[in-house]
Symmetry: none
Subunit: 220 residues, 2 copies
DNA sequence: ATTATAAGCGAACATCCGTTCGGTGTCAAA
DNA sequence: TTTGACACCGAACGGATGTTCGCTTATAAT
């Protein structure tokens, strides 16, 4: 609006950057007094005043009565160049001849040797995801390579056309295919369009292990 | 060692998980009393006692005299999923019939419409990376699907056996293949082991566009 | 000239929080 | 049986921290 207004925004931006840098450096948010000290403000009430405005503007959220109860909103963090990281546990291997490891209901990140770290922006809903490393080239018709990592979401069922890991009871085999329920039978369509589908006449032979959310190939 | 010892470790693991979950949920670390309340421990000194042990074991670091001054160490944070986020610019499409868009020498994230956010831990050296979206199924012999995203590192040359995006001068075509320099000729090996290599007798026909670092497929 | 608003100061208060201290029960080694 | 460690309890101290209140100053609008 005018010089006055611009300086307000500048001050509040300084506070935001101060919060961001503090978290980046120390791993936890600053106190009101930390911010005051950093910006040369001599009264804590001034910082509190600006924090209220930043909260109203949805830049930050505060937990009342909690020390250091400041967190950047998703929008605020995004605006400052921060994102959210999701750790997906790498639970084991997937191979054609074996059932895939199904996550135990209470699995936690501790006790898991390896994790795959992804950003929330490419992974979507991060709940209950797990990762498997593909062994062998048996899934080449799904265009999945030896060593690729598939990110899975456990589900007992999938909708028509979704890519899923299925255990074929009679063949004793795991494959990754798109699943189409066609009346009494099931069509399993490879992702590779040059290859032909598999038809299973008895739907009970098809055990859905989970949904494939993403495939990651780290070259070399 | 014995049951006694195992319970200690269990308790300390509970505390670690508590810290992790608290940070995950609230965005800042818990106080000693938060942990005590969460785990049903009635004395803050017990928590302090265990925190000292976790600090000695390099699971956490503490800032003395600072409230909520707990942070997970790099090793501990890896299990939690705290890492560094890399923004890779999505510069355009890659298709068989066209040269791939080469990044301008001073390209920055400004002016780029879309970015792919990855963690440093899966991407390695984040410098000069860029991303391309694959259009069409022309790269099926590299097991790369329509819609896949390839992460590239620009290089004028590659070592033997590295996966690269190459522009074939005579065919006027871009492909992704492993490149082997075999004396006077070049062997371009598809990633799909069931497919045959291409041989190019004149190495000058092979223009290296960049190295493929990663392939990402978001299913649906 | 008056009023309103935005930004800040300094002090004070009640609570929160890290830390310390003395003490208890259990278990295994000596 | 004694000893020592380990895990824990309850209380207390002092400093840290969020929050409120009254006051001041500068600028813009009325």
């Amino acid at each position: 609006m005018n010089r006055q207004r611009e300086e307000v925004e500048a001050q509040e931006r300084r506070i935001l950057e101060c919060i961001r840098d503090f978290i980046q450096e120390r791993g936890y948010p600053p106190t009101v007094r930390d911010i005051a000290r950093e910006l040369g403000i001599s009264s804590t009430s001034v910082v509190d005043y600006h924090l209220r405005r930043l909260e109203q503007a949805r830049w930050i959220e505060r937990d009342p009565r909690s020390s250091r109860g400041i967190r950047l909103t998703v929008a605020g963090a995004r605006g400052l160049g921060l994102g959210e990281i999701i750790s997906v546990p790498l639970l084991g291997d997937i191979a054609a001849g074996e059932p895939i490891p199904v996550p135990s209901s209470d699995f936690s990140l501790l006790g898991v040797e390896e994790t795959i770290e992804l950003t929330r922006s490419i992974v979507g809903d991060p709940q209950n995801l797990y990762a498997l490393r593909v062994r062998g080239n048996s899934m080449i018709d799904a265009m999945i390579h030896d060593g690729d990592i598939v990110i899975m979401r456990p589900t007992p069922s999938v909708e028509n056309g979704e890519m899923a890991a299925v255990w074929l009871e009679d063949r004793e085999e795991t494959t990754l295919k798109r699943v189409y329920w066609e009346g009494g039978r099931v069509r399993l369509q490879p992702a590779n369009p040059t290859m032909s589908p598999i038809y299973v006449d008895d739907p009970r032979q098809v055990k859905i292990q989970g949904k494939v959310v993403m495939v990651i190939r780290q070259v070399r």
